[in-house]
């Protein structure tokens, strides 16, 4: 399976899982963003171009599913994926702990990017609370560690 199909499959899996979580475990669904987890996986394991393409695709998929501004998540995930990809090229991020940190950092950066975008677009800004942000960061981190472990097992 080439990288394109792998990416599509990964995207589909993330979308289905996110939908299921929101539907059946809303509290968990609000505390984790599997699209971010997917993009960050690409950021620490793939080249930057692939990260950006995945970021855009995942973001658009999330926008479609969440019925938000089409492009909001795409913008966030593309930009943060690019930045995290740069970070991955500078540091070794193959261990679970750095990857956990990357996921928390990515969650924070996405929140910041969203706030900036909202301001740029002249929309009403509603900042997430620190608790929500921390919970989302931790949720992404944990989901990422588990997900990356699962993927590595599948690949092996």
């Amino acid at each position: 399976m080439n990288s394109l199909w792998r990416g599509i499959v990964g995207l589909l899996v993330a979308a289905v899982c996110q939908l299921l979580l929101v539907r059946y475990l809303p509290a968990v669904g609000r505390s984790v963003d599997l699209f971010t987890v997917l993009v960050m996986f690409y950021a620490v394991t793939r080249r930057r171009i692939g990260v950006m393409v995945m970021g855009t695709a995942a973001g658009l998929a999330e926008d479609l599913l969440a019925h938000t501004f089409l492009g909001m998540n795409a913008f966030k995930k593309t930009l943060v994926g690019y930045l995290m990809g740069m970070l991955g090229s500078l540091f070794v991020l193959s261990q679970p702990l750095p990857r956990f940190g990357v996921l928390i950092l990515a969650t924070l950066l996405e929140a910041l990017t969203e706030a900036g975008l909202v301001l740029v677009l002249g929309q009403h800004l509603v900042l997430p609370t620190a608790t929500d942000l921390l919970r989302l960061g931790l949720g992404n981190g944990i989901a990422g560690i588990l997900g990356y472990w699962a993927v590595s097992k599948l690949v092996d």
Binding site: R48, I49, M52, T56, G71, T78, Y82
Partner: protein, 281 residues
């Protein structure tokens, strides 16, 4: 160091992706004016270009319009020039008619003031062969014009008819050397014979040295020649000199401007003297 294109590719792709996403988002965000952000942005970006293009097009259209207007103005100018020339021509004709009208009025007044019936005539030609001074007028025997009828205008004596055709007549002018008119000084009442001197005017002969004649004295017809009625102005004395045999040589400047004769009045005198009865010098 400048990075090569492959090294820049991720960044360029990032910019392209983010720009595309921003455009996508802008198309959904509505501004307070009711338009989308994309429409606003496009308007702002395209505005100067459109203004420039439309301004350029407007300028070209303006230049073309000016050229077309100029052509129109040129044609209009030609038409107006032509009309102006026609109007000027009409104006000149009108002025000519006005002047002629004035002259004819004067002639009419003169005619009414005359005790004899008269007829107006147009000068057809002025002749000057040598010292001879004659004029051809547009009246003849059909108009009851006969030889020796006096011809006058508002200024005074013009001459007399010396030959008559059917429709034209020849007039011997006062200044013709063969012309002779019996004259009298209006102030001193001394008499004499006024003869023509060509372009020099006239000379009054047979004026006694005893007569008190001064420059400026007016000379009128005396009526003794039986051609001209009494009292018509001949001219004014321009110089007085001692003559032969106890006479004075009196030079007279005629009142009539013979070079500018256009219309005259022929006095239809029934008792006009025949050729043999003229008092010629």
């Amino acid at each position: 160091m400048n990075k090569s294109l492959p090294e820049r590719r991720p960044f360029l792709l990032l910019v392209a992706l983010l720009s595309s996403i921003l455009v996508l988002m802008s198309s959904q965000v509505r501004t307070i004016r009711g338009t989308t952000l994309l429409e606003d942005s496009l308007l702002n970006v395209a505005g100067p270009f459109v203004r420039g293009v439309s301004g350029g097009a407007g300028s070209v259209a303006g230049v073309w319009g000016s050229y077309a207007d100029l052509r129109g103005v040129w044609r209009e100018n030609q038409v107006l020039r032509s009309k102006m020339e026609q109007m000027e021509e009409k104006g000149r004709e009108g002025e000519e008619f006005r002047m002629e009208n004035l002259r004819l009025r004067e002639l009419l007044d003169l005619r009414r003031s005359q005790e004899y019936p008269s007829i107006a005539a147009e000068i057809l030609a002025l002749g000057s062969a040598g010292q001879s001074r004659t004029a051809l007028i547009g009246r003849g025997t059909r108009d009851r014009v006969r030889r020796n009828m006096p011809v006058v205008n508002r200024q005074g004596v013009v001459g007399r008819v010396i030959a008559v055709g059917d429709r034209v007549a020849k007039v011997q002018l006062l200044i013709d050397p063969s012309s002779g008119v019996a004259g009298i000084f209006q102030r001193g009442r001394g008499q004499g014979m006024v003869v023509g001197m060509g372009d020099e005017g006239c000379r009054m002969e047979y004026v006694s040295e005893l007569e008190n004649v001064e420059v400026g004295d007016v000379v009128v017809t005396s009526g003794l020649d039986r051609i001209y009625p009494k009292g018509i102005t001949i001219g004014v004395v321009s110089s007085v000199e001692e003559g032969d045999q106890l006479t004075q040589s009196v030079m007279i400047r005629p009142e009539v401007e013979f070079r500018r004769l256009e219309e005259v009045l022929i006095l239809l005198r029934p008792e006009t003297a025949g050729p043999g009865q003229e008092l010629l010098p």
